[in-house]
Symmetry: C2
């Protein structure tokens, strides 16, 4: 059983997952693309754990498929058993770890799908949150994508992941806390203020439609980092109707396509941040997506030690570059 441990000084949680590997290894160069029997390809459905969600396509067969991760970081069975060990805190590594297979077509990237396909992926995210939030042990569900070996993907076939956690992660609670402080002073949502300033200023704008804005944030951790934020404030991803997810799909696919063209199909990560499952809906914090291309060695001693990031590309330059990519 994996274990969740809390650093007693800063409150950072760590998953000790011995099942994932026992002996340390040096990081490797990107592995060969997986050939042959890809477990995410149609016809190989029996190579994955039993699916928990699927959406069909008009002509038959599946379009999106969600399955439990075969090498989960957390285990779905068991009690939390929160306990102290002297001054330390631990609990059982209980949680869900699922894989969203985004397309039946091996070798087709998320940016190469149609807007309708991407809408089905985003709708699958929503369906999984709505199902998993019934499990009272979970406090937060993080949706994320690792695309490319340099961004941590171990399989080529286009997929994203979901981890349901028994605690709210620090990265999210810090955003919520910062947004709460802003609201307290100004009675306004800070993300809505940011969207307002970015739409007026336009120098960091990447794309917008009637419902969503994509822009390079003021202080990006990595070159070409791009955030996608709803124009109409909504704290909970799972509360969005499918029509709005379709507009988000358009913004996400366009952003990924432009980053791919501008930077030569880099590896990338994206993360969906949303209000924690057990919190009331929030007027100060909206859900949003953060896209981070893996273009530079991002974390070395200075970053580990300071939490600072060094970014060689100003967001205004990155955004201009992305705006110029033809559709």
């Amino acid at each position: 059983m994996p274990e969740l441990r809390r650093d007693p000084i800063v409150g950072r949680w760590v998953i000790i997952a011995t099942e994932r590997a026992h002996r340390p290894q040096q990081p490797k160069c990107p592995p060969e693309p997986s050939k042959g029997l890809c477990p995410f390809c149609p016809g190989n459905e029996d190579k994955t754990p039993r699916e928990v969600y699927s959406a069909g396509r008009p002509g038959g067969g599946w379009r999106v498929r969600v399955v439990p991760n075969r090498y989960p970081a957390l285990m779905i069975e068991g009690e939390l058993q929160r306990e102290a060990e002297g001054i330390y805190d631990r609990m059982n590594g209980v949680g869900a770890h699922e894989v969203i297979v985004e397309t039946p077509e091996h070798g087709r990237s998320l940016a190469e799908l149609t807007d309708e396909d991407v809408t089905e992926v985003l709708f699958a995210y929503k369906a999984r949150i709505l199902d998993l939030r019934n499990d009272q042990r979970f406090r937060y569900i993080l949706l994320f994508k690792n695309s490319g070996a340099a961004a941590g993907a171990s399989l080529d076939h286009s997929h994203s992941q979901l981890i349901a956690l028994p605690v709210t992660p620090r990265q999210v609670s810090e955003e919520i806390e910062g947004a709460r402080r802003h609201f307290e002073h100004r009675e306004r949502c800070i993300f809505c203020d940011i969207v307002g300033q970015e739409r007026k200023d336009r120098s960091r704008l990447v794309y917008e439609n009637d419902e969503f804005v994509a822009f390079a944030p003021w202080a990006p951790r990595s070159p070409f980092e791009t955030w996608i934020v709803p124009k109409r404030h909504e704290s909970n991803y799972e509360a969005e109707p499918k029509e709005r997810l379709a507009r988000c799909a358009q913004a996400l696919r366009t952003t990924l396509h432009r980053i791919g063209v501008a930077c030569g199909n880099p590896a990338y990560n994206f993360m969906v941040h949303s209000n924690p499952l057990r919190d009331p809906s929030s007027t100060s914090y909206p859900w949003h997506i953060e896209v981070m291309p893996a273009l530079v060695q991002s974390v070395a001693g200075f970053e580990w030690g300071s939490g600072f990031h060094i970014n060689p590309v100003p967001p205004e330059e990155a955004a201009e570059f992305l705006r110029r990519v033809s559709p």
Copy 2:
């Protein structure tokens, strides 16, 4: 001039350093070891900016040498010019970025030096802090080492780095804040409490001498992460007398040697955390060193999005492994 920008939501600072590179690139596999004219080798002293510190050896020549970084992330000249841009904050990227060349011998690692050599390196850190803290623009000095390409080193010749910053980095202020809360409740330093529990428990202990303890922390971010903490509480690194730095050198060198043997000379980072320059000395926060081997891909979507880390090696196992390495 590089620029310091603050994320308005979580307060994370980013250095926008356009001088360092203009066009994005994919991360590369480790580069070839630098051949030929290494700028850190004796005889090539004119290939570095003018040295700011050096310690000689008995037989002549230098033993440790500190020079400004040729490609600094921050610039030493200029005013801070803190200013707002709408809801955002920026200031000029003013700071110092120096390289501590740890030995004249190319190809000799820090772990392969003598305890006396390492003492001279740690003493050079202290000398540089004492000099740089006279510059009233600086609030914090981060000392760190990137060893090996996978840990972000671009030159082979053994060296560490120093960055003097006009703000206290978030990673440090979060530790200070956590330690302050603990002290408020219990009137005790949390690091001293941790050292007490680790010395009693012994399962995570890696090494100790009369002045320092090296142990695997309860919630390590990466396999074989090891902290070196003074037994006698002292908040400011630069306040340590040379005799105590010599004991620290022994603990650090032993730790690096054992990690090298146990894990096959992995790339690693270490960071020295200390009390900020302008703060009064602190009873709740001690300086310490955090050593992080680069053994797994450490940051992907889940880590970026949550701040959680997944670690496949329990610290008790790592520490046992390290204790078993013969001296």
